[in-house]
């Protein structure tokens, strides 16, 4: 389900002769365009290889026309990633051209020229993103542009650009809150804005708190938002560090998150994204992952108490939802964890075997995996 319930148009299949002829023409036009761009760029590559002088390059095909040809091609097929690379070469050439002119003109004018070029290119990408919000190459190219901007622009100018990107990410996510490209982009942008290069005037506040609230908002709008839960889990360690949370504060935070996920699970125990987040919270009690977790300094006793509490909570969920495979999976995982923490664990091996049997019943396509689990526990 790549489209979150939104039906994908598979394109109209040509039925009449006229439609077929139209389609053939479209194919011919497209092929012509590809030919044109490729020949210009390969000529260019030959030129570079033969080390002609910069003036000669300018007389050849590294020009606005070629750029426009790539624009045309990419508008109809943004997935043709080689063309994006050609475009990068052209843009790089333009950037270098302008910086080579520093000897004759002032630095500011050059900056402006580069900014304008980047702005134009970013604007070119916007309608493409609207049409193809999940094309990797467009997002990659956009990031490339922004990173280039950091080389040529002042910190203040660059920061302005990145701020706009945050708004773009917000817009993409409001159109489709589960578009993981949008979420990934948002994380990258936030990281850049918080990074050393783009230090803002008020460098004491970071964006982590605000982003954490954003994930809460998105979760409240749609509980099944895997990306929102994932981003939340990525933000938490940083958040607690910035808050300089002590053990007490960390435990309170952990308790609140456990309450939150419990409510969510009761409202939708079939939801995989919720169980994933639950697993993330459980990793706090696993000594192997404790160091990077929410509360790294829990005592062994406290860990046992938490695991026991969670175990009871999940077991209660079973009452009335005996056909939910996630609950059994969680119980098994918690039992394994429980046993690793305390020698006389109250969970009986026979119960675990019963749960694995339930998994075999409910999820027979994964029988191999469950049987494997069974035998590994027998040892």
């Amino acid at each position: 389900m790549t489209s979150h319930g939104v039906p994908r148009g598979s394109g109209i299949q040509p039925t009449t002769d006229q439609d077929r002829r139209k389609e053939q023409q479209k194919i011919r036009d497209y092929k012509g365009l590809v030919e044109s761009v490729n020949s210009r760029v390969s000529l260019l590559c030959d030129v570079i290889l033969s080390r002609l002088t910069p003036t000669s390059i300018r007389e050849h095909q590294y020009n606005v026309e070629t750029l426009e040809l790539t624009s045309k091609l990419l508008k109809s097929n943004p997935e043709y990633f080689t063309i994006w690379n050609h475009r990068r070469l052209i843009m790089q050439h333009f950037f270098e051209q302008d910086s080579n002119q520093t000897s004759r003109t002032t630095g500011d004018q050059n900056q402006k020229a580069v900014v304008d070029m980047i702005d134009d290119d970013l604007a070119f990408l916007l309608p493409l993103l609207r049409k193809f919000p999940k094309c990797y190459w467009i997002w990659n190219y956009r990031l490339w542009l922004l990173e280039e901007s950091m080389h040529f622009l002042s910190a203040a100018e660059a920061r302005k650009l990145w701020q706009q990107e945050l708004a773009l990410a917000g817009k993409v996510l409001s159109l489709d809150s589960r578009n993981f490209h949008g979420w990934g982009y948002r994380r990258t942008v936030v990281q850049a804005l918080d990074g050393a290069v783009l230090e803002g005037e008020d460098s004491s506040t970071s964006m982590t708190e605000q982003e954490f609230i954003y994930t809460t908002k998105m979760i409240n709008t749609n509980l099944s938002n895997f990306s929102a839960w994932h981003t939340r889990s990525k933000l938490i360690p940083r958040l607690l560090n910035e808050r300089r949370a002590d053990n007490e504060a960390r435990k309170n935070f952990l308790d609140e998150e456990l309450e939150l996920i419990q409510r969510a699970l009761w409202a939708g125990s079939d939801d995989q994204s919720l169980w994933f987040y639950h697993q993330y919270l459980m990793s706090t009690f696993d000594p192997r992952y404790a160091r990077d977790s929410i509360a790294p300094d829990l005592t062994a006793d406290e860990r046992v108490k938490y695991v026991a509490q969670e175990f009871d909570r999940v077991q209660e969920m079973l009452d009335g939802a005996e056909d939910c495979k996630w609950i059994y999976q969680s119980l098994i995982q918690l039992s394994i964890l429980y046993k690793s923490l305390i020698t006389n664990c109250p969970v009986k091996a026979s119960s675990v075997q019963t749960w694995i049997d339930e998994l075999l019943r409910l999820d027979p396509l994964r029988a191999g995996r469950w049987n494997d689990l069974k035998s590994s526990l027998d040892n």
Binding site: S174, T221, L223, R263, A264, W266, A267
Partner: protein, 555 residues
Amino acid sequence: MESLSDTVWDVVLAGTGLAQSLLALSLSRSGKKVLHVDKNEYYGGLEAALSLQEAEIWAEAADEGAGSSPYRHATIKNLEREAPVQEADGALKLGFSRAYSLSLSPQLIYTRSNLLPVLVSSKVYRQLEFLAVGSWWIYENKDVTEGGQDGEGDARQGGLRRIPGGREDVFADKSIDLRSTRSLMRFLKLAADPETHMSILEEWGNRAFPDFLESRLSIPPRLQAPLLALTSSPHPPTETLTSYALPRIHRHLTSIGMFGPGFGAVVPKWGGLAEIAQVACRAGAVGGGVYVLKRGFESAEMPDLQASGRNSVRFDKDTGLSTLCLQGGEQIRSHWVVGSIWDLPLQIDQNPGDRMQTNYVARSITIVSGSLAQLFPSPAEGAPPPAGAVVVYPTGTLEPQSTDQTPGSSGLGLPPVYLIIHSSDTGECPAGQCVIYACSFHPTNADSHQILQVAVAKLVASVREDPPATVLWCMHYDQRYNLPATTEDYEANIRCDHFMNDHVLQLPDVVPGMALEDDVLKHVRAAYRRIVGDDDVAFMLFDDREGTGDDIDEN
């Protein structure tokens, strides 16, 4: 110029209420000669929107014209005039008359209703603006054991609670315990999935809805009330059947999110259904229809209804034409005559026809100062700001003061009271004020209007506002309406036996209630088919007229 009586009309439409106006719209491209008259001097008929002055005139006329209108016993209280506050300024006092557009039919339109796609396909949607109806609230009394109960009147304080419309709402309401959360979720999933309904209705259809919720899903009484509120049932819980409740909740839940997050219904701007009627009539006029206001039809005074009908509209077998008489004497000849029972030339007395079942509704319109912003929170991230809110007072939360207050009596038999509140964004009142429409299917007596007043007063008291909101003006009235006895036989419902003439069609009343029902359009379509013939494929499917249309570049 040809007079009205010279023309042989194809269709004469009586009354510019919503149904007749939609029929005019449907005929606007047919090339048929349509004469559309209304006895009032305004459009909208029973669904009209009135300014303050128009409301006063309307209220006076409502009692006089018994038999030509279902409305009666209309009283207006202008509290501002009675007790003006010296320093009152701006939103705290009543604005001028035309600043108000009070709707006699403030129904919300579910996003899944059949009317909205038709407004789009007929291209009139461009002349309309719709606003979202956001939150539904339910009023809950605090526990009786908390405050004093003997003779202390309103010692019971209550409050408003938001009714969950989906999983995220249930999740966010921390007052619901975990098990009930799951039961509620189960119900919501079940209600949204129509394939399970058949088997449920077989077993539970004729039983009370609360029983179904309790026995089948273990939902406690406290959580039953919000679900019952969503059904907009005119009856108390014990009389609301599962067969009534389930499809309505299904409609409610599946409407949410259809046009955007956080809302499932809309209201038209500027005066509710009247605005749609006006736009439809305008389209009818552009299509060549002739509009005449302030003229109704004369009905023959005869001892029995059928004789009266037969003489008010005379049918000529040879030409197939019906002849009827406009007020003022002009004789109108037409192939078809369509109208509501209140606009056709007939004196409706207090004895309804055989096929009808008469009921009454107590209603009120109240203007309050204050924006009541608390009732209009943004329901979800990215949702449009709502301009409508629904507040339900379930059975047991209001008792009439005059009935016997025996300890323990909580008015269990009385129907719920429904309020729909419109903010000034609807254009129905000036900024900083709101209009509260209240309705209850009480047997109409003196108590029923007092109950509406109590409900409005409680609402105003429970909303935190600074300065406190006050009631500026209110109008109370009764509405009589007829439910066709057969519910889904639209062809049958539009027959009008009074005239002994099967070229006279009757469009049933728009049933008062929270939401506009799909039946209205279905009856219009049935009438259209009678007039146009069975080939109704082009019903409400129009191209843009030249000169109109979107000029938006596809890129």
